[in-house]
Symmetry: C2
Subunit: 266 residues, 2 copies
């Protein structure tokens, strides 16, 4: 299994604090030694870093921890390999362009062999992970259903939810997906989120001896949501997503929740 | 105008030395202050860094300069903006997936408005540069002509050359393009290359006070080709590509040259 970390915010925000916690799990407090990656949106552009080395030893990870890169939308992943060898092309997050947007994707879990029967149309995996295959299939499905970027976010979200449900039927499928302004979080087994907004307080990382007083780091209008496989702090109230739940975040706010039952009722 | 830097090698080689020279041109000895980027292949995977800040001040560029990342194929670019604002999504190199390979592209020059009449099919630009548009068109053309990866490299190279010639007719089009093992260099106005192999000697950078004795850094079988907008060293023999010339490098060796006349004779 792997660890996911995502962020959605309404003002450019650095993720140094949460990333410090996640990094420790990459071979430090956790077993996820098989590489890590992070993608930061800046406008429609993406700055990404990938490293097949354990994050707790990575010099690039150290740079990111110390060098605040501010973003409205971030997806990060540290890996404990199951399907696919440990190499750069198997390192999340994966990226593809659709509608002139760079989509970023990371997956936690494992999907069974039936996945590889799902037909690929437009996108082909570069590496050999089940995760990248699932991403190529998912984005190809979206592209086929919506040749142009739809105005109707509810329709798009509903379709993405249906595809995620199909993938969840094949195993464990926790996912983060973003196009720059939208951040989708889908839960199969384990994913939690937390929104920080005024009045800001202190937060203490579980995995690193670090406390931040967000009051000093923020303005009263800031809204910042962090999504992670497991809560990163032990003195804040995290919300666990339900199995089969898709949440759409934009500007740090949860805009839309789709649950498994809602789809079943369609 | 911008500066291009490419490398093709038969053993994983770091590009620290050449990159040190290029970096200085990013707002130091040169006027190219509008961002920089670099992509390193590692197998079929790509490690890329993009920064809209001048390279000579960039902390990430500093990390790359000091932290040797070894690769068989590298493409780098520093930018002096003409078309498209200075922002991350307009920062080269650009990347798209085709046939399960990540293609990396960088362009030096400027293309006139007629470019935007060329029809896009599969790939859409994320930013607003003429360069990314040209890349999306080029890769879309390749995809249409070769739905599967062709075994016949001569046919592929010939087709890429024809597309490059079409682009050159629209302005200045110097290009580096790679799929991981192949590195294409196409010259419209300015591009030079140099192959280092045994017996290795010393090289002195023009733009930085740095001399490297490659004899100490290499084994006798190493072959390393460097391609750059302008020669980076002043004590080695660089070869200038002709206008309309496409060279295909693999494992550090120039495998194939196509010139403008050769195409005219087809």
């Amino acid at each position: 299994m792997c660890e996911l970390l995502g962020m959605s915010a309404n003002v450019p925000t650095d993720i140094c604090f949460s990333f410090s916690g996640l990094m420790q799990r990459g071979g430090g407090t956790g077993p996820h030694r098989d590489g890590w990656g992070i993608a930061f949106y800046e406008g429609k552009g993406v700055r990404s870093f990938h490293d097949p080395e354990p994050s707790c030893q990575s010099r690039i990870a150290q740079l990111i921890k110390e060098h605040p890169i501010k973003s409205l939308s971030v997806i990060s992943h540290i890996r404990q390999a199951n399907v696919g060898s440990v190499c750069l092309e198997n390192t999340h997050p994966f990226m593809r362009e659709l509608w002139g947007y760079t989509w970023v994707f990371a997956h936690n879990g494992q999907l069974d062999k039936g996945l590889f029967d799902l037909p690929l149309n437009f996108y082909k995996p570069v590496g050999s992970t089940d995760s990248e295959y699932a991403f190529c299939w998912l984005l190809g499905q979206i592209r086929e259903r919506f040749p142009e970027r739809p105005e109707d976010l509810a329709a798009l979200s509903d379709f993405i939810h249906q595809c995620c449900e199909q993938l969840r039927a094949l195993g464990v499928y926790n996912m983060l997906l973003s196009d720059s302004s939208l951040l989708y979080a889908y839960c199969s087994s384990k994913l939690s989120w937390l929104t920080r907004r005024a009045p800001f307080g202190e937060a203490t990382l579980m995995d690193d001896e670090l406390t931040v007083d967000f009051c000093k780091e923020t303005t009263p209008n800031d809204i910042v949501t962090v999504i992670a496989t497991e809560p990163l702090t032990d003195n804040e109230q995290w919300t666990a997503l339900q199995s089969g739940e898709l949440v759409l975040f934009r500007d740090g706010v949860d805009q839309l929740h789709l649950t498994s039952n809602a789809v079943a009722a369609d």
